[in-house]
């Protein structure tokens, strides 16, 4: 007899194999995770939408099909939570914004995002919609229009963002896997702050069809999971060319999961000095150095590399991403869906202005303003075009480094999770938190964050998760997973559980 606790601890791949073989039913599995969510969600608030009946119905359908002898996919019976920035057919989708709310409910998309459609096709159970910073704009999930999400390792701290809900759902064992989106670190940074695995795939690897657009030259959909292999499997399912997203590449997918467990002897691992300088927390640097030492012991060749334009990444990103966002978010105008505000005797222009001012939260308004400004006549050259030129240099840094190494290893975030509210009044301080994840986004290269242990508990803070970032050349997700799995197998803290899970 398998206990509830055992099932909760299973990985994505363990669940898929056991449901496919008939060891357990998809319904039993979802029952366990629904129970976990029922017990922990009040304290964590990871979800914006979770409907028990809908989850059970999907699981029963999977069990019926399996018993009828139909083949079940690589995610057979696996509950996967979905960031509420991805469209789910007839399931509320709000992007954590009031502008997608009307008449007391969120927008009901008429279609599934491609990534969601592929999850379903692979036998997964879509487990509900997770909280995020409104329109994925933020690094703490506090910019949600509805409520913040709490870090399961310290309830008074942020889970990171913007995919904080997905990270917490996985970290607190309410699901074994989840989908997020990453524009400047929105999968990797919350993964680091919550002791979970998250992958930002290569730009062009995963279709964005049905992902509410933030910055189109940067956005990627990617997986969270409680181990590297699970994240790799979800990535393989959602990756690949999609005619509905013209930027998806024809490059063959995989084997990505197959790289997990492969020998890493002789692999060249680059360490950039620029990621270990001023502003990095001492414990974070120590944990990352320990992981690098373990990779050396595993046979990797550690090589210093230089990414000299790293310090310009934040400025570059906040010009390019806000410019693209100001253009993408023009579609929210109160006409076709969502919220509308019509001032009395107001004309169409007044309706646009009022709808957008009331419908968007403060950070979204700020970014639309910044983006509109840097694209406006007289400033386009100085800001937008300038940032695009510096982006070229950041991209070249990586191209040059990857001539000599197979992967680059860095910390994911310079600090562990901070306190809720700590950076809310200082937008610039919040932007600086993304310093180590932005460069890979600008270069379009894939990167993973995985647990690297914990900071030591002090009088000021409890022990908090630290994340290790591994960056690879375009479409070399197999390199990422190969090196990540090697460190994961050697990480003494890999199976640590947050207090809310460990204490029954």
């Amino acid at each position: 007899m398998t206990t509830m606790r055992e099932i909760e601890a299973w990985s994505v791949t363990q669940i898929a194999e056991r449901v496919a073989s008939g060891d357990v039913s998809a319904e039993q599995v979802t029952d366990v995770f629904l129970g976990a969510a029922a017990r922990r969600e009040t304290a964590l608030r990871a979800f914006l939408y979770l409907d028990r009946d809908r989850v059970i119905d999907q699981a029963r359908a999977i069990d019926l099909a399996r018993r009828a002898g139909r083949p079940c996919g690589p995610l057979c019976g696996v509950p996967v939570a979905v960031k509420d920035a991805l469209c789910t057919r007839d399931i509320p989708t709000s992007c954590a914004s009031r502008i997608l709310h009307r008449a007391g409910r969120a927008w009901l998309p008429p279609y599934d995002a491609t990534a969601v459609e592929r999850l379903r096709g692979a036998g997964a159970v879509v487990f509900g919609k997770t909280n995020l910073d409104e329109f994925a704009m933020g690094s703490s999930t506090e910019n949600s229009a509805f409520h913040p999400t709490h870090n399961p390792w310290a309830l008074d701290r942020v889970p990171g963002g913007s995919s904080g809900g997905s990270a917490v759902a996985v970290a607190a064992r309410m699901v074994p896997g989840a989908l997020g989106s990453d524009t400047g670190g929105s999968i990797r940074q919350p993964a680091a702050l919550t002791h979970t695995v998250g992958i930002k795939p290569t730009y062009g690897r995963v279709s964005r069809f049905g992902l509410v657009a933030f910055a189109s030259s940067l956005d990627q959909v990617g997986p969270f999971a409680n181990d590297v292999r699970g994240a790799a499997r979800i990535l393989e399912v959602i990756a690949g060319r999609d005619p509905r997203d013209a930027t998806t590449a024809d490059t063959p997918v995989g084997p990505i999961e197959g790289a997990c467990g492969q020998d890493v002897r002789g692999m060249r691992v680059g360490i950039p000095d620029e990621y270990f300088g001023e502003g990095i927390d001492g414990d974070v640097a120590r944990r990352v150095r320990e992981a690098i030492d373990a990779l050396r012991d595993a046979g990797c060749i550690i090589v210093p590399v230089s990414l000299p334009h790293t310090r310009f990444a934040i400025a570059t990103y906040y010009v390019i991403a806000t410019a693209e966002a100001s253009s993408n978010l023009a579609r929210f105008d109160g006409v076709r869906f969502g919220f509308r505000s019509t001032p009395e005797r107001g004309d169409l222009t007044a309706m646009y202005g009022s709808t957008r001012a009331k419908g968007f939260g403060v950070e979204v308004r700020r970014r639309i303003m910044l983006g509109t400004y840097v694209l406006s006549a007289g400033y386009y050259e100085a800001y937008y075009l300038k940032a695009q030129r510096v982006r070229t240099l950041i991209r070249r840094d990586f191209e040059q480094a990857f001539r000599n190494v197979d992967v680059i290893v860095t910390p994911t975030s310079p600090t562990p999770a901070w306190k809720l509210g700590e950076k809310l009044d200082d937008p610039l301080a919040m932007y600086l938190a993304d310093v180590f994840t932005l460069p890979a986004s600008l270069a379009g290269v894939p990167a993973i964050s995985l647990p690297a242990g914990f900071t030591s508990a002090t009088a000021q803070r409890p022990m908090l998760p630290v994340g290790l970032q591994i960056i690879a050349p375009p479409f070399a997700e197999s390199n990422l997973c190969r090196v990540a799995a090697a460190w994961e197998a050697r990480n003494p803290a890999r199976n640590a559980l947050p207090p809310i899970v460990a204490e029954p």
Partner: protein, 99 residues
């Protein structure tokens, strides 16, 4: 640049371009916050980019073409189903032309 990276008037102009009806306190706060962010962004001026091409998108060298075949869109009632106001099989908006 001066400490005044962006003026209140410029912020008002940008709000108009962005179709955001911001109230006075909002405009004041935005002037200050955008100013701080823009001063930070000035760091880009340190980089010599005189001989560097801009990157608009990574890895997309040319847009792929598809077969010129008809693809059905969503049914009209589904498309209109989530709108705040509809009339005559279309989206309804406040009048914007003087009669």
């Amino acid at each position: 640049m001066t400490s005044q990276a962006i003026t209140r008037d410029q912020v008002l102009h940008v709000a108009r371009l962005a179709r955001l009806s911001l109230d006075d306190p909002d405009i004041d706060r935005m002037t200050q916050e955008l100013g701080a962010i823009l001063r930070y962004v000035e760091v880009l001026a340190e980089v010599d980019t005189s001989s560097v091409e801009p990157t608009a998108q990574v890895g997309v060298s040319r847009l792929p073409l598809r077969e010129d075949v008809r693809v059905d869109g969503l049914p009209r009632d589904v498309v209109l189903g989530e709108a705040a106001s509809t009339s005559h099989d279309g989206f309804a908006v406040p009048a914007f032309i003087d009669e």
